[in-house]
Amino acid sequence: MNELSATGESLDLPVQVSWRARRTQERDEPALVRAAQRGSEPAIGELIERHWDAAHRAAFLIVRDRYAAEDIAQEAMLAATAAIDRFDRRRPFGPWIHRIVVNRSLDWLRSHRRRREDLDAGPPDVADESHHEDALSGDLVEAMSSLDPEERAVIVLRHVLDYRSREIARLMGMRPATVRTRLRRALARLRQSLGADAKERHESGGAS
């Protein structure tokens, strides 16, 4: 059964990816950034290689659209490349990318929602649903979908990208107390959704 524990954050799911290498990669990044600022294509390629997966995953978990996630990750990398000259090498590269990714993801959701409202009389976006389905499966994703976009964003920043509340506040331009409130609310809703899913499966005889 998928269940958030008393500490609030454990789930019964297989672990497929180890994600602990991010911090150790940051040590030689100033040299890569310096090389990119001098026009080194391999250096910018290496920075993109290092940060792509996290950026893409974060975008996807927030917008839940594979093509939008690719576009957002790409735009973030290219925006960073465009402004690389002005980047302060003493600072880590990741948060810069992640701030762009999260802000663009939220922007995309807002404009997408507006477009959907404009097309309200029309049929549902079947194409969108189909490419949601091929990657989105499982209770956790459904539970994530039940969150509002900003709640998803803080969950992704905290639990996928490993930022603390104070750092999230800086990235999203919120007060730390607001971030903590949103995190608490989002975790409570995840717990509730996952509990309901598990109960439903149990009642239908499909629970493990």
Binding site: D12, P14, Q16, I44, L61, T81, A82, S137, H159
Partner: protein, 124 residues
């Protein structure tokens, strides 16, 4: 096996973005390459400056051959399609350009490098 929420979210299957990643690397490399070779060409030192702005900004200024439109000249030389014209404030003769994250052009006054003004195209 019990995993943390962190691990569960990180283990969720997401669509493969490798093709987009490779495209992005190529585009970023092209941006840096273009930035090395891009020139901006004012019609005169004090007049309207035209800058070919790729996402990487402008490396240097030079002067278009007389009688030829700056944009055409720069575009021909560099094979670029997007040209932006930027009016420099009075008294500013040379500037570097960058694009911020939202795509807005920003400029910073720099000292004119006279040798750049003599060369039709110069990379740096």
């Amino acid at each position: 096996m019990t995993a943390t929420l962190n691990e569960a979210l990180r283990a969720l299957a997401v669509p493969d973005g490798d093709a987009a990643k490779e495209r992005t690397k190529l585009l970023a490399g092209e941006m840096l390459e273009a930035r090395r070779s891009v020139v901006a060409a004012p019609r005169s030192r004090r007049a309207l400056a035209a800058a070919v702005v790729t996402a990487g900004g402008i490396a240097a200024f030079t002067i278009a051959p007389p009688g030829q439109a700056v944009a055409e000249w720069v575009g021909e030389r560099l094979g670029l399609t997007e040209t932006h014209y930027i009016e420099l404030p009075p008294g500013v003769e040379c500037a570097d350009y960058t694009l911020d994250e939202s795509g807005e052009v920003a400029f910073k006054e720099v000292e004119c490098e006279t040798e750049l003004l003599r060369e039709p195209v110069r990379e740096r």
